[in-house]
């Protein structure tokens, strides 16, 4: 124990410099910026700045390519939900109903009313309607392309100057999934108890009737 410890004896590693001088020297180093070469620039800070700028640019590009539209439901960053229409996010029925309800509350409610009762003689009711609760395919066609002239619902005839508009066309331009949500909603609201309408079914009908330019008439849509 009495043997003196040399500078780097592991049993007692000696301090090369004092704490106070370490702090003093480094505090001064913080103040002193690197001196430029004579007639030139300080190379290191410029290199660091260039590196950082390049890195930030790269990161921006990386983020744009992998952001997945900042959509909480997109888990694969390579897919942009807006650009790729063939990718649809499967919603559960309650989620479809929720979306359908908000679509109904914004648009359909103006004619068909908050309780889906319509207006006698002008707008047919949805509650208990055989059109709503009947064939899905007929119902989808009505929403896609609209309906004009006359319609008989629950034994009552409706003739309105306001026809049912085509929701897949301007000015509405509803996507197929929105149409499915709205139909799913009305088929279980207002006392109706019919099953949901799938997005795929709407797509199928839309593709089959893509040439349709004008509204349907009741004669063209027989109950199936």
């Amino acid at each position: 124990m009495s043997a003196p410890f040399s500078g780097h004896d592991p049993r007692l590693e000696s301090a090369a410099v004092s704490d106070d001088s370490v702090q003093r020297v480094h505090a001064r180093l913080l103040q002193e910026k690197p001196q430029p070469e004579p007639g030139g620039y300080a190379f290191a800070p410029l290199m660091l700045l260039g590196f950082m700028s390049g890195l930030i640019l790269f990161c921006c590009i990386f983020l744009v390519h992998n952001r997945g539209g900042f959509d909480p439901l997109v888990y694969n960053g390579q897919i942009d939900p807006k650009a790729s229409s063939n990718v649809s996010v499967e919603l559960t029925v309650p989620e479809m109903i929720a979306k359908g309800q908000s679509a109904y509350a914004q648009t359909c409610i103006q004619c068909h009313g908050p309780a889906g009762l319509g207006q006698p003689g002008a707008f047919p009711p949805l509650a208990g309607s055989e059109w709503v609760n009947g064939s899905e395919e007929r119902l989808i066609r009505v929403l896609l392309h609209g309906l004009k002239d006359q319609i008989a619902v629950k034994g009552e005839a409706f003739t309105s100057s306001n026809k049912m508009p085509a929701f897949s066309a301007a000015p509405y331009l509803w996507k197929d999934d929105k149409i499915a949500y709205a139909l799913t909603y009305v088929r279980q609201a207002f006392g109706n108890t019919s099953g949901p309408v799938s997005v795929d079914k709407v797509k199928e009908i839309h593709a089959a009737t893509a040439d349709r330019k004008s509204e349907w008439t009741q004669a063209e849509l027989p109950a199936q």
Partner: protein, 486 residues
């Protein structure tokens, strides 16, 4: 050493190892002792878990020691037992040193420290008894968490107190990093516990919170403590200033800004929103900025004068390995993003292992070897054990890291090629067996460390004090002044 032109002057008569060191002797020794006990216990549990990976029948009949309990118990014992105890000990000593504070009543810290260790013990036993929360790195049952948080705050308050009441007018880089660690950890931990267990968030967000915490724990507790030690010991042992120190503040802030986001990159390929994964990846890439700065500051400071200084000093070798591991860890994390390396393989385990062992533990070992003689005022008894500890832990770190790295790449290739899962597992066996051998080396190193520590710290209390050796002259002299950089 005495060849320095600016020798100690009459203006600074007090030896460096003076009242400041003495004032924290009891709490630092207490935290270190409990940390080392946890290190041994955690290593033993980790060793059992490592064997089970390739020999599943081992201890399989004992319910407490099934893999699903032993592995998280080991992880928590090492992270909260060793990591936080040893981290706090080093933080306290460094802060007292650098702030030149004199902590009165530091032994009150024993109360808080005891409760911390009680809490960790209850937590680890709870995991072994089957009350794990099953969230990685947060497995301790939530009932012990409030106790642990209060105990942590009462411990960490002394670190802040030391800074507040110190007489040094200057802040050194080590102090920035210590403050970052001391403040980040409770915030990360309390927020994660609250969002996962006390008022749970729903669904996917839970895994995001879990990854955020784990990344934060590694990068904002373990890393900063390690960095604080490296920043302190390099100039102290080499006697030269840190290279490129003028950008160190920028390195610090860019690190702190990015580090919190890096955790999200642990979820690459997981079923969480894509933008979260992308944000994590971007943060990992941006870490290249602090990585470049800190590599110049630390690794280059070691290497600039050649390796001869490393040959002379074992303590400096520990520090240098920690600095090199830091550069390697962050560099590899960015590379993995760029190459799109597979996640959820042994590669991920190897990253965590490198931070926990390569950066944090190696830095803390060097700090303990440096500080313990100064607080107990006697030299380490066995130089051979220190050398053995370094050799064993360095080889263990290397072998374990390489085994997990290669095993992870093998796993990634197999999974990408659609190899059957049982085959994938079979292919990784040799790597896991190698990792177990590395574990043996590490445990032997820990035993050498613990033996030396028990001898230096407790022998004066066990034996009669009469035959205590005289204080070595190194501890009574004043360290030379640092020369101004040319």
């Amino acid at each position: 050493m005495s060849a320095h032109p600016h020798q100690s002057s009459a203006a600074t008569p007090a030896a460096e190892s003076g009242p400041a060191d003495a004032s924290v002797r009891v709490p630092v020794l207490f935290l270190l002792t409990s940390g080392i006990l946890w290190l041994l216990a955690g290593s033993a549990l980790a060793f059992i878990a490592a064997i089970k990976l390739h020999t599943p029948g081992f201890l399989a009949d004992c319910e407490f020691l099934t893999y699903g309990r032993v592995y998280p118990a080991a992880l928590n014992a090492l992270a909260y037992g060793w990591g936080v105890n040893a981290g706090l000990a080093v933080a306290l000593w460094l802060m007292v040193r650098l702030a030149r504070a004199n902590l009165p009543g530091g032994s009150l810290l024993l109360v808080a420290g005891s409760f911390w260790n009680l809490g960790v013990m209850l937590g680890v036993l709870g995991i072994l008894a089957g009350w794990s929360t099953s969230v990685p790195w947060l497995e301790m049952p939530r009932q012990v968490v409030p106790l642990l948080l209060v105990a942590y705050v009462l411990c960490a308050a002394w670190v802040i107190g030391a800074l507040r009441h110190g007489s040094s007018p200057r802040l050194y880089a080590s102090q920035w990093w210590l403050l970052a660690a001391v403040f980040s950890f409770p915030w990360l931990w309390a927020a994660a516990e609250a969002m996962l267990f006390f008022a749970p968030v729903r669904g996917t967000v839970q895994s995001v919170v879990g990854a955020w915490f784990t990344g934060g724990f590694l990068l904002l507790w373990f890393m900063p403590i390690g960095l604080a030690v490296i920043y302190y010991l390099l100039p102290k042992l080499i006697g030269k200033p840190i290279r490129g120190y003028y950008v160190a503040p920028f390195g610090f802030w860019s690190y702190i800004v990015c580090a919190g986001w890096v955790g999200a990159s642990r979820l690459t390929g997981a079923p969480v929103p894509a933008w979260t994964q992308a944000a994590g990846a971007v943060a990992s890439l941006l870490m290249l900025v602090p990585l470049a700065i800190l590599t110049v500051n630390l690794l280059y400071s070691v290497l600039a004068d050649g390796l001869s200084v490393l040959g002379r000093s074992v303590v400096l070798r520990f520090t240098a390995v920690a600095a090199a591991a830091f550069t390697f860890c962050l560099g590899r994390a960015s590379l993995m993003i760029l190459l799109g390396s597979p996640r959820l393989t042994w590669l991920a385990v190897s990253s965590d292992y490198l931070i926990l062992y390569g950066v944090f533990s190696m830095a803390v070992f060097s700090a303990v070897y440096y500080l313990t003689p100064r607080i107990v005022r006697r030299a380490w008894p066995y130089a051979g054990l220190i050398n053995a500890h370094f050799t064993l832990s360095f080889i263990g770190l290397l072998v374990g890291g390489v085994a997990l790295e290669l095993g992870g790449q093998q796993q990634g290739r197999d999974l990408a090629n659609g190899v059957a899962f049982t085959e994938v597992t079979a292919h990784s066996l040799p790597y896991l067996q190698t990792a177990t051998i590395a574990g043996v080396l590490l445990i032997l190193g820990h035993l050498a460390f613990a033996l030396n520590f028990v001898k230096i710290a407790f022998c004066p209390f066990v034996r009669a004090r009469a035959n205590a050796a005289p204080v070595p002259v190194e501890l009574t002299r004043t360290a030379p002044e640092m020369e101004v950089a040319p």
